[in-house]
Symmetry: C2
Subunit: 403 residues, 2 copies
Amino acid sequence: MSNPGNNIEASRLLADLYRLREFGAYKTGVHRPTFSAEDIESRRWLAQRMREAGLDAHIDGIGNVLGRSPGSGRKLLLGSHLETQNHAGWLDGAMGVIYGLEVARTLGGGIDVAAWADEEGHYGSFLGSRSFIGELSDADVDASRNRYDAAPLRGALARCGLAGIPRDRCDPGRYVGYLEAHIEQADDLESRKLKLGVVTSIVGIRQFRIRVEGLQNHAGTTRMAIRRDAGLAAVKLAVAIDARFSKVCAERSVWTIGRMSLEPGALSVIPGGAEIGFQFRDADDLVLARFEATLEALVAETSAGPCTVALHNLSRSRPSVMDARFQEVIERAAEAHAPRLHQRMPSGAGHDAQILARVMPAGMLFVPSIGGVSHHWSEDTADEDIVLGCQVFTTAAADLLAA
Amino acid sequence: MSNPGNNIEASRLLADLYRLREFGAYKTGVHRPTFSAEDIESRRWLAQRMREAGLDAHIDGIGNVLGRSPGSGRKLLLGSHLETQNHAGWLDGAMGVIYGLEVARTLGGGIDVAAWADEEGHYGSFLGSRSFIGELSDADVDASRNRYDAAPLRGALARCGLAGIPRDRCDPGRYVGYLEAHIEQADDLESRKLKLGVVTSIVGIRQFRIRVEGLQNHAGTTRMAIRRDAGLAAVKLAVAIDARFSKVCAERSVWTIGRMSLEPGALSVIPGGAEIGFQFRDADDLVLARFEATLEALVAETSAGPCTVALHNLSRSRPSVMDARFQEVIERAAEAHAPRLHQRMPSGAGHDAQILARVMPAGMLFVPSIGGVSHHWSEDTADEDIVLGCQVFTTAAADLLAA
């Protein structure tokens, strides 16, 4: 193997990442929500950099930035996302996009680069990549609203000058496959003193809203024995979920209650209603099904008490297995650049690669996150790890293109 | 005993209650928050009704409506409050005030009537009655803000034309004592088919904010074993509080978690912080102290885990024992009007009587609440129970004045 990754220009790669960090700079991180002014500026800047790299670049009707290699022959598609979570890190998404750009510049052909819109879900769930593979309808776009202020997506697109512009649709025949690089967002690589992760699969996520109905009443005059306290039922259910899930989980399973509210939320009022926001993740569909059955059983048990409980599914994403050959190629590239400093591992976070994997072979490469910090402005990765990651990514891309 | 309660005019009593119900009418209840336009209108109407009953009436600088009997000799002070909880009942507070007015009209002298401002705590805690007994400083007034929109109390007073008006201060020597009638706000009388409750004491309440600090992180990439989930620690603590309190409680103790929030409150983010709003009540100071020690121990136990917990006391009110002679007089009046249809009982809710009891003998009478409903627009009491209660109240007042 010739290790074409050795030909990347580290200073150019880092300079582009530093430049991108200025759009919405916040402390040492970035605040660049989807379709904010800074986000759109960064997309325009990227399209220009793509053109300078010899790609045909444009922004499509959902905000995807697509840079196409003009030559003939099948292409490899590289990408990630540009927008960030609120007050979050500078590399989450951005690094994978600039890796793609650097690979295109280094290999000189055969590489398409994409920045998928709204991977971070300010308006929906993987809007950009789903649009690209044809799994986002116009009705979906109509219905999408900002998760913080409920502003319609259509209005945001119009404000960004994207109303009426067609949405690009993937031609799977054009592509050998899809490759994405990303920060790990955890400390597994760092804690094992490894530099590279070859992603085996992306976990499936199931999300639920659990609604508890009791009877609102006076907290002073209502005897304990006759209460139907929705808050108490909710916290008992939450504790039971955690205890029971820890008995039926797999090694890498995670489950989280991220939201809880009691109604009306006054000190002197027994809660008449309560709501729990719950999700769980695993790379194995069987584990996900076991979790959901466990959750249903616990909800039924709680409903046998003084309050009634209803379970509403919000989303179910399936685990996405990365292509076996892509894993091998990435692993070989990692071994070539950093012998024994890599491992195979699942991704606990969702990525656009899980969407693209529905229509073409896909693979992912992870680089270490310092301290495992993610979705926080202090997220960071050492410059030398960024450069090493891009070398491995480039070698893997060249290998896949050559095959 | 001559039972002067037989001389009340039931139609006049009910007509005044029906008229009062129109200020801020909401379904079959009332929405009349402290210092809303409807609230001030109702205070002006009451002052006018007091004047028609031969009392010297005015509204003081905190919004108390005070009607003084012009004659010489010691007086009995009767009162309750006019404002309501949001979208709440028509009798909570209003009934006790109109009882006072009806007693003044029936007995023709010796009765002062008060409507204490903000018993329901829109701006503070018993502002009106505390002001009257001299336990509310100008600095307290300066610092008070609306609990919903944080609007300053001073601004509300100015808007109601009360800025610069002096606040009345109690002369305890003027009074034989204080008597208050109120709906029970529970179903104890109804379930025992009783018509009248002689209040023995008003519970003490202690309120706390429990703050849990963990570490916010990605809900997909952070392994369960290394999490410091503030939400999970909070729900476990909540369940432990309920379990432990039920072991150390007295017969009528109550405890309530009315508020809980997780931060930042997103499905995909492990909560880094959590907050619990907690209160407990009992008529016995020793039980309250035992509860607080139990709470402190549980907080310390939780802090030994992955998250730290801090306990902030918000308020501590002491149980207030009603005057023994007042209890006897009320019980005698109840027996005279409704033989064997009364009981002695504590009040689980707070009332202005607990404030007045600090400077003079105080007593309270309860009438039944249909279905025990309270702080809801559907709260109600049968007209005949309202009339019977006023008869008993009048007889008791006459007895106390005569002594």
